[in-house]
Amino acid sequence: MGSIKRISKELTELTESPPEGITVELADESNVYEWKVIMEGPESSPYYNGKFLVKLSLPTEYPFKPPTVSFATKIYHPNVTNDEKGSMCLGMLRADEWKPSSKIAAVLQFARQLLSEPMPDDAVEGRIAEQYKNDRGRYEEVAREWTRKHAC
């Protein structure tokens, strides 16, 4: 149950001094393992002005196991699955890459960074990644449209 202590500590830290464009709260006050994160689209990205609901769930073994990040709001992005799950693939969240010393704040900042700089080589949506690499303009157009439609 050491994890609860750490999680609440991180939660306090994040609510007291939230990183830019990120607000966090518990999805359910009685459950510290499920977080509701509101992520604002970075200015330099086609997601600008969008507010994305991100679900962050922590395993009970946290911090020894990585958290998982998923987009509840639909988003047109090469690294986020275009399904109802909206799972995000983050390198640092892979089991062998994860370090217990990484904090949720870092995870969220990394996720937001990914919005402005997608990683097509690490993509889960190959089609979007293709488009991102070959037809940046079209990609941005669609992403902006999706943002307007789903995230505003």
């Binding site: 750490r6 500590k9 911090p63 089991a95 062998d96 370090k99 217990p100």
Partner: protein, 558 residues
Amino acid sequence: MSTSVTASTSLPDSRPSRLRRFSLRTYTQNLSLPSGQRSYRHSLSSRIPWRSSNPDSISPTANSTTSPCPESDHPTLSRYTSAPAPSYGFGTELNSQVSSTESAASTPSNDLAQTSNSMARLRSISAVHRPPPRTLERATTNSQESTPSPEPGPVQSNAAEPTSAPADGRVTPSKSETKATIRFFPYQDSLQSSRPSLPFVPVARTLPSESCVIRVGRYSERDGVPLPNPTEPSDAPVGFKSKVVSRKHCEFLYVNGQWHIKDVGSSSGTFLNHMRLSQPNMVSRLYSIKDGDIVQLGIDFRGGEEMIFRCVRIRVECNRSWQQQPNEFNKNTESLIKNLGKGETADYSGCRECSICLGSVLRPYQCLFMAACAHVWHYKCISRLLHSPDYPMFQCPNCRAFTDLSAEVDDSNDPEEKREKEKKEPAEDRASNDSGEQAETEVPSVVETNSVQGPPDELGDLPEEENLANDVENLHLQDDQQTDYTRNSASPAPNSSSDDLARSATTNIPGWQPTQPLSVPAGRQSQLRSDTPTSDDNPLTPRNDSGPLAFDGRAGMP
């Protein structure tokens, strides 16, 4: 002061009286010393071994050859002084120096030093090691006399001396600072395949020079058995006991400050992060590798059921030696840890957080675990990672440095400490010689002033006067010398001693009559003569004993 002068005016010659005053002063000075300086000396002695425990700070020749005590005593003493052996050598040198120069006739002190237990020796060291700040000039010349060349001397004898192991260790790290290091750890790919790879003992290499190459291949009896973790720089080949590893499989090279790997024509391939470097039996180009890369040698044969057919997976750790050396971070950690026991006065401002629970670590009353990289966690928090399936191997969750938790404890001296001591060494060296010299000259002076002090004052009319006066002349010549240099550098003492002198004079004078204590000095003289030698090794003792005696003798005669 003036009273003492008037008291001694009865003597024919005024000069001796002046000298006597000197002697008296030294005497009272000596008397006044023990109370004040004892603690100082003790604290000094307890500190000195720490700071001077560098083997170079002593003259090992004296240590090994003239040391009156057997080598086997080292551990005990070093345990007492809570410093490695060299501190002992320090002491013996003093002892031997003192005993040899002080009296060739082997005063009891010599025997005493030999027979007494290490504690007594310690005490004697502490006593002997008295006033380092004094007589620096003299001491320098002395040290030059006694140890012809303090610098080169140690180097030679260190090599021969068994206790000099740390000195050898000191050389290595300083070298390896600039050297390229690489370490190989067994890596179990938990995700890709469930099959375990070949287990092996972690291997560490430090290149003796940049042009060296570390060859990796199948283990062969012919190559001999190279140490997996030599302490010296080495480019010994690394062998793995697997049939899927070719005899000449791959090489690790250090080019332009970067580690590289090259397949040298292996048949079953070298894989860097799952990418095969070359076709079978072809030499590959150089591929740069970085810390944490995974290198696989060969592919499992026959399903890798048998150990001998398993591939080798290596996690490479490059140039992490800086972590094993003193750096800002681990020095900081050290100081934080030292702070732990200091209770409320401790300063926790630099306190770190446990990266597992994010709580503060390095506070008192907690079980902590510190990895070799000086990262610290609560034991409770980190224990999950310690007792993992990889058990003896532990990867720091903060910096990913690998540690073999089952590795032998390295209790050789901290190179850092040694280096710091080295800096202090010359001063220490001098100090040691200084105090040795000081004690050596001082001890006799104590004896003589004590014995002399009584007679001229009180035996003024006795027939031996002339002889004594002669003696006194001679002695005072020495004394003069001595008081001169003690006064030169020991400014704080005279003040207190003159006070003491005044007091002792006034207390003495009222009941003092020239004729009264005549019989006393004779007895006292012999007493002193017989007394002092036994305590030669400890100049404290005679002062303590003789002081009260003098007063008692007079006080007892109303």
